[in-house]
């Protein structure tokens, strides 16, 4: 946790620095407006950098025993990475394959990968989920869901 907190502090320092620099390029006053669009980002950036420094100091000088534990385990990271990839692929699939087809694929993949059900069950579940989702949202609620290359 110690290393993670230090990483967070440094990352936030960089982020808040970027916010402050960007905020300074925005006008702080405008004719007839006492507070321009740059004021709140500037203060928010400064406050964030102050908090980042506080976190840094707290971790370096006031270390508690709970900081010893590991935050990221390689196995967990790999599992989350796979899931995140699947979620991102689903979003990309919606754009290019269309909502219906992408939904069918992600449902089959997740139920097979997570649940380890039989292929035919996964496929059936995927088809049902895709059909119901498209029916309810596209046709009943008239939501213009992306159709992709295949019009699905």
């Amino acid at each position: 946790m110690f290393a993670a907190n230090i990483g967070v502090s440094l990352g936030l320092l960089v982020l808040s620095g970027a916010v402050v620099v960007t905020a300074q390029q925005l006008p702080r006053t405008l004719p007839g407006i006492a507070m321009g669009p740059g004021v709140l980002p500037l203060w928010a950036g400064l406050l964030m950098s102050l908090l980042a420094v506080s976190l840094l100091i707290q971790n370096i000088f006031f270390r508690s025993p709970s900081l010893k534990r590991r935050v990221f385990e390689p196995k967990e990271l790999a599992a989350v990475g796979k899931m995140f990839f699947a979620i991102s692929a689903y979003a990309a699939g919606i754009e290019y394959l269309g909502f219906g087809m992408a939904t069918c694929i992600i449902v089959v993949y997740l139920s097979r990968y997570l649940g380890q059900y039989a292929w035919w069950r996964c496929l059936l579940f995927g088809l049902i989920m895709a059909g119901v989702s498209v029916g309810v949202f596209r046709y009943f609620l008239d939501l213009p869901l992306p159709t992709g290359w295949f019009g699905l």
Partner: protein
């Protein structure tokens, strides 16, 4: 005044009880509960989607149905918050804090029942307020100017301290990060682009729906998959109704949350999400066992649910009396009024009195419909917990993606939700609470607008806040709340989300408990049962109720499986 409203209200009931209006009121309540239950699909998008479809109807049944969606969603929003820790609505986020903890202890049924009862009590009582005191209260709200709104935002922000979990610094970091998120897009007053990086799609800002969906729904999927566990509540779905003790414990919370929710709901900009947090925070202060909040305290569920329902009724006061929508859903509803040629405002009560009173009466009827829909069907909702996670995860993902997409029909919002999902997972790992981020994302726009308007009101600058009695009072209240929260932290009162004592890594389990936990594959990691026993043994003398709560969890038979 009472007699003045009694007659038109009766006429309103006569109109609302016609078969057509009853039917559309019922459809609105069912749809509202449905959109409330489905994570990510909010009443705003549902009302917006259905608005064009209602043009085939008369104004009265159409607006009755659309209003039913709005307040029905408040009932439904708690269901997924309690059962799967994913608030259907932002207003149910504080419900998840204790409701989900109760579900994990095998008390999902009582949590859902109390949620429905509290919603009904608060919804009905606040409707009485709307009916009888609307003119007077609306007059008071009329006196609110930008300084008062700014002060009100400060009051809402003071809640952040109490939602910061075990590290105040991390809580504040989360809150400031919310400001960062809200600042993306055009400045609310000048229209100058900020932090858009040249992207046209970011000009309209980051919609908070994407943020909520990411931080709650997608992060939940990632976290659950990371642990590779399927939480299963073994408790049979019997004894779902709350005990007398539960009712006795929560009744004062229901009343308090009604008052808070209704009066704050009168103020434009004070959404059910904000009042639910304030009511939750207030309830914790009133409680004799504040350390149990966040660990499955039923009063927390009652307070949050009562407040968000009372706020929906309160929000109708400025909408009907002055044409001021207090939130996004009511703004869309205002569009519905306009679509039908109805101009909300003082003249609405004169020119369209039968319509207004029928709408108010339909809300009384809708509350009865909703408790009938929710209480007997608790078992149906509770079954959601039994759905295996490999089947539930795709459903959560699909509804989350549609929810994010339906806000503006842009894939950009879906990608943002995914990005916030990853951020949410990282925040969980790093023990940074996500609730302050959501709160400030919602409040930042209103806060910035009210500051700018306040500063434009004269040469006094921010000191104007302290020259007006109402804003001064609210500021003092905010200061007192902040001091009291800081004092609470100093005294080490456990806070919502503060799970330091429950961290698997912070406790060294004695061997005996590891051996006595046959249901756990890796007791050191999949921890609840041995931890509960261990903690009670360790802390029984200090009479720490939170840790006794863990014992109940053990007794309820909570198991964690691969």
């Amino acid at each position: 005044m009472g007699m003045d409203v009694f007659q038109p209200l009766l006429q309103g009931f006569a109109t609302a009880l016609t078969p057509q209006n009853l039917c559309f009121g019922f459809i609105g309540c069912v749809l509202g509960t449905l959109v409330g239950v489905l994570p990510g699909i909010g009443p705003t998008s549902a009302i917006a989607m259905l608005l064009p479809l209602t043009l085939i109807l008369d104004p009265t049944p159409a607006i009755i149905m659309l209003s039913g969606i709005y307040y029905g969603a408040m009932y439904g929003g708690s269901t997924t918050a309690i059962l799967v820790n994913i608030p259907g609505e932002i207003s149910s986020a504080p419900t998840a804090l204790d409701g989900y903890a109760m579900a994990k202890k095998g008390r999902a049924g009582p949590a859902l029942a109390i949620s429905a009862i509290s919603s009904f009590v608060a919804g009905t009582l606040s409707l009485v307020g709307l009916t009888f005191f609307a003119p007077t209260l609306a007059q008071l709200a009329l006196h609110f100017g930008p300084p008062e709104y700014f002060a009100l935002m400060l009051l809402a922000l003071s809640v952040v301290i109490n939602l910061s979990g075990k590290s105040l610094i991390k809580g504040l970091i989360s809150a400031v990060a919310g400001f960062f998120v809200a600042m993306v897009g055009m400045d609310p007053i000048t229209g100058i682009a900020r932090f858009t990086f040249g992207s046209v799609e970011l000009m309209s800002g980051i919609d908070f729906v994407s943020v909520i969906i990411g931080l709650f729904a997608i992060a939940e999927v990632l976290s659950t998959w990371e642990a590779q566990v399927t939480p299963v509540i073994r408790t049979k779905l019997t004894g779902l109704m709350p005990t007398k003790e539960d009712l006795r414990e929560t009744f004062p919370a229901m009343l308090r949350s009604t008052v808070i929710g209704f009066f704050l709901g009168l103020l434009p900009g004070c959404s059910p999400g904000v009042t639910a947090f304030i009511a939750y925070d207030t309830e914790k202060r009133f409680s004799r066992v504040p350390e149990t909040f966040g660990q499955g305290q039923i009063a927390g569920v009652a307070a949050a649910e009562g407040a968000n329902n009372a706020t929906t009724s309160g929000g109708f006061v400025p909408l009907l009396s002055f044409g001021i929508p207090s939130g996004p859903a009511l703004a869309v509803l205002l569009g519905g009024f306009m679509m039908y040629g109805l101009q909300p405002g003082p003249t609405l009560f004169e020119k369209n009195a039968p319509f207004v009173w029928a709408l108010i009466a339909s809300m009384y009827i809708g509350n009865v419909m909703l408790i009938i829909l929710n209480l007997p069907l608790i078992g149906l909702w509770a079954r959601l917990v039994k759905v295996p996670y490999p089947l539930l995860a795709p459903i959560i993902l699909i509804s989350s993606f549609i929810g994010a997409y339906s806000v503006r029909n842009k894939m950009m919002d879906v990608w943002l939700a995914i990005a916030f999902g990853l951020i949410g997972w990282l925040m969980r790992k790093l023990e940074i609470p996500s609730v302050p981020l959501i709160l400030t994302t919602i409040l930042a726009g209103m806060l910035e607008t009210s500051i700018k308007q306040t500063l434009s009101m004269g040469d006094m600058g921010i000191y104007l806040l302290f020259t007006r009695p109402i804003s001064l009072t609210i500021c003092i209240l905010a200061l007192l709340l902040t001091i009291s929260s800081l004092y609470g932290r100093y005294k080490k009162i456990s806070l919502p989300g503060d799970d330091e004592e429950f961290s698997s890594e912070s406790i060294e389990y004695p061997e005996v408990f590891e051996k006595k936990s046959p249901v756990l594959v890796k007791p050191r990691r999949y921890l609840h049962a041995p931890k509960a026993v261990y903690l009670v043994r360790e802390h029984d003398r200090s009479r720490n109720v939170a840790k006794c709560g863990s014992l109940r969890m053990r007794q309820a038979g909570e198991q964690v499986q691969r």
